[in-house]
Amino acid sequence: MTDKIRILSVEVEDAPNTLTKVSGAIRRRGFHVRGISVGPSRQPGRFRLTLQVDHGHAEADQVRKQLERLVEVIEVEDVTSDDVHSRELVVAKVAASELDELLRRGAKVLSTAGDGTTVEFSGDHAEVREFVAELHRHGIVDVARSGPVVMRRAR
């Protein structure tokens, strides 16, 4: 990842327009989303977005500041340089039946059928990248990847 990428943990209102407004603000300022994941947060009525954003020619903190201007956005935490757990998920269908190397890396078999095997794997960005490279050697039929989900490490 280049140093133009910021990782932001964003708490938002669960409203019909929230995602449009967040993505609109990012696009309008010339930023680019490299990864995104969305899910309910601890509080009812609120969601947490994890965003990997390329801030382009703008100053790095502009991403956070521009998102904070949105009324739908409750809190933005820039966790780029913080000590965090960042996890991504891959679900893949592979043609091969030789799965030992994938299983050794910690993949879990979800189902097996005539046209291949479906596996899942989660890890940090580098681990997922290596896992996907390994999948290539096994002949990927299909692959789906999530954006990162981030949590500060317990201290």
């Binding site: 209102e13 019909p16 327009n17 703008a58 502009q62 521009q66 904070e68 956005v73 409750i74």
Partner: protein
């Protein structure tokens, strides 16, 4: 229920246009005599009228439009208000909630289309949301950095009956107001200003919005620091004050640009520091050691110029906090002020008047001689706007209104009408070129219908003057699509609308025409046939630094 809520918010005027999806609101309008509805002739006119109303009167402008094309016609007006931080609440009708997403008649995704030009927006699909949403909309539009808020209300919600509820206390977790001043930062700013050898303050629209003109003048005088304003900041500091640098930016005055480019401390108050202010960013204020930026919107810090001292706060509170800490001034301050006086002598505003043609500056100077600082000038966009900015000596906020950020042609006429609704006590002058004027000229009907005492000064050069000037100076002299020879006869056009007008082609006819305008109650138009070659000066060539400004040729 909507109208009740508006009454509760203290709304006096609504600028609007009915249609299929807001009929239920209009059905009950007559039951609310305190709400005065102004029927515009195009929705864009409604948005600009509300804008002028808000800028002149300080209260939020309110707009009604129907769904689809009605709402989409507001987009330019919302953008104009958004760029210039003007409080506005636009209430649009939306198709019945069960029809949303089915491409119903006159359905459009208004929230989607306006998200980038509104401070906030709501789609209301249930009646129980309505009281809270309207109350929040006014709160958000008018507080912090103001801006337009759009409320899109489904037609079935407009028709629904519900118990009357007064909205509970506002609780908007994602809306934070920056008010408190960082006192350490304020002290630091005061020290930087006091210690500076060559300080400059620039004031933007934020100073006007926070009513900080008195605090600004006190600080400038205490710190013996010259003050310039942005185009939208005009009025924040009296032009004739000895410390005044008048307007900054790429069409600013020569002595202002000299001061900015030689300053060692630059304090920027309530402004965005955009490209029209800085010109070539890399060469902006190159000798500054300390940039101080004060703005209520934290995202402005470092957006264009990275400040050394930043105060995210209301301008008035920040200036109030800074002033007591201004200490002994740098002993070389006197030299700096003398230097600025010399630059003011060396680079005065001037214009060519030797070719026998009617000069726009002559028109504006005569106007100013009559109105002094007891009239509101609403300018359009283009050469007319810069002439009106530079050739009047505005001494307080609220007298000069124009579309600075968006640069919306067609703004002046409807905004001037809105300003007159807000300030019936003050004369209102609309200054426009003929190009922008015809973009919204249909609103003359509103002026005549309400006999609004607005005087329209048309600076008519039969061309898109600013574009023509840019083509002449920066695009190889190729005049392309700027000829407006084919325009209506504006005197006959005014008469067709039912208002008097006259044409002026010679210098000696300026005064009699203004006399006639002033004698007439109600709207009046003067079609000034000005020198088609008249240009705006000073001007910084596109892409160049502020050092490289061009001045008007000598006589």
């Amino acid at each position: 229920m909507i109208l009740e809520a508006l009454e509760r918010e203290g709304v006096e005027y609504i600028f609007g246009y009915p249609g299929g999806a807001n009929l239920p609101i209009y059905q009950h309008l007559h039951e609310f005599p305190k709400l005065k509805h102004i029927l515009v002739r195009h929705e864009q006119g409604a948005a600009h009228m509300a804008d002028g109303y808000a800028r002149a009167g300080g209260k939020p402008g309110v707009v009604f439009a129907t769904s689809g094309p009605g709402a989409l016609n507001l987009v330019t007006g919302l953008c104009t208000a958004y760029m210039d931080s003007v409080p506005m609440v636009a209430i649009t009708g939306q198709v019945v909630s069960t029809q949303v997403g089915r491409d119903a008649f006159q359905e459009s995704d208004v929230i989607g289309a306006t998200s980038s030009v509104t401070k906030h927006s709501y789609l209301v699909t249930r009646i129980d949301q309505l009281p809270r949403v309207i109350h929040e909309a006014f709160h958000i539009a008018t507080t912090g950095r103001p801006g337009p808020v759009l409320v899109d209300i489904c037609k079935d919600v407009q028709q629904a009956q519900a118990e009357r509820v007064t909205p509970e206390r506002l609780e908007i977790p994602g809306y934070r107001l920056n008010g408190h001043v960082d006192l350490a930062g304020a002290e630091q700013a005061a020290r930087a200003l006091s210690d500076a050898e060559r300080p400059v303050i620039l004031a933007g629209h934020g100073v006007i919005l926070s009513h900080a003109e008195t605090e600004l003048r006190q600080l400038a005088e205490a710190a013996a620091t010259p003050v310039g304003t942005t185009l939208l900041g005009i009025g924040a500091f009296p032009v004739k004050h000895p410390l005044s640098l008048h307007m900054t930016g790429f069409m600013g005055t020569g002595w202002n640009l000299k001061a900015v480019q030689n300053a060692d401390v630059l304090m920027m108050v309530g402004m965005r520091v955009d490209d029209r202010v800085t010109a070539k960013l890399a060469d902006y204020a190159p000798k500054v050691k300390t940039f101080i930026h004060i703005d209520i919107d934290g995202s402005e810090m470092g957006k264009n110029v990275r400040p050394h001292i930043e105060l995210v706060a209301d301008a008035r509170q920040a200036l109030t906090a800074i002033q007591p800490h201004v200490g002994n001034l740098n002993e070389r301050r006197g030299l700096w002020l003398t230097q600025i006086d010399a630059w003011r002598e060396e680079h005065p505003l001037r214009y060519r008047r030797s070719n026998g043609q009617l000069q726009p500056q002559d028109v504006l100077i005569d106007m100013y001689r009559r109105a002094r600082n007891e009239a509101i000038v609403v300018a359009d966009v283009g050469q007319n706007q810069i002439w009106a900015a530079l050739w009047w000596n505005y001494d307080r906020p609220g007298l000069f209104i124009n579309s600075g950020g968006a640069g919306t042609m067609g703004f002046a006429l409807p905004a001037a009408l809105g300003a007159k609704f807000a300030r019936p006590d003050l004369p209102v002058w609309c200054v426009a070129g003929e190009g922008g004027f015809v973009m919204t000229a249909q609103e003359l009907s509103v002026a005549v219908e309400h006999q609004l005492d607005v005087k329209i000064v048309l600076l008519n050069n039969f061309s898109l003057g600013m574009v023509r000037q840019f083509q002449d100076d920066f695009y190889g002299g190729v005049r392309s699509q700027v000829d407006l020879t084919h325009m209506p006869d504006f005197v006959k056009l005014s008469e067709a609308y039912g208002m008097p007008a006259r044409r002026v082609e010679r210098f000696e006819d300026i005064a009699p025409a203004f006399d006639a305008a002033e004698r007439t109650k109600g709207p009046f138009l003067i079609d000034f046939r000005i020198d088609p070659e008249a240009n705006v000066y000073p001007i910084v060539p596109l892409g160049k630094s502020l050092n490289e400004f061009w001045e008007a040729p000598q006589q």
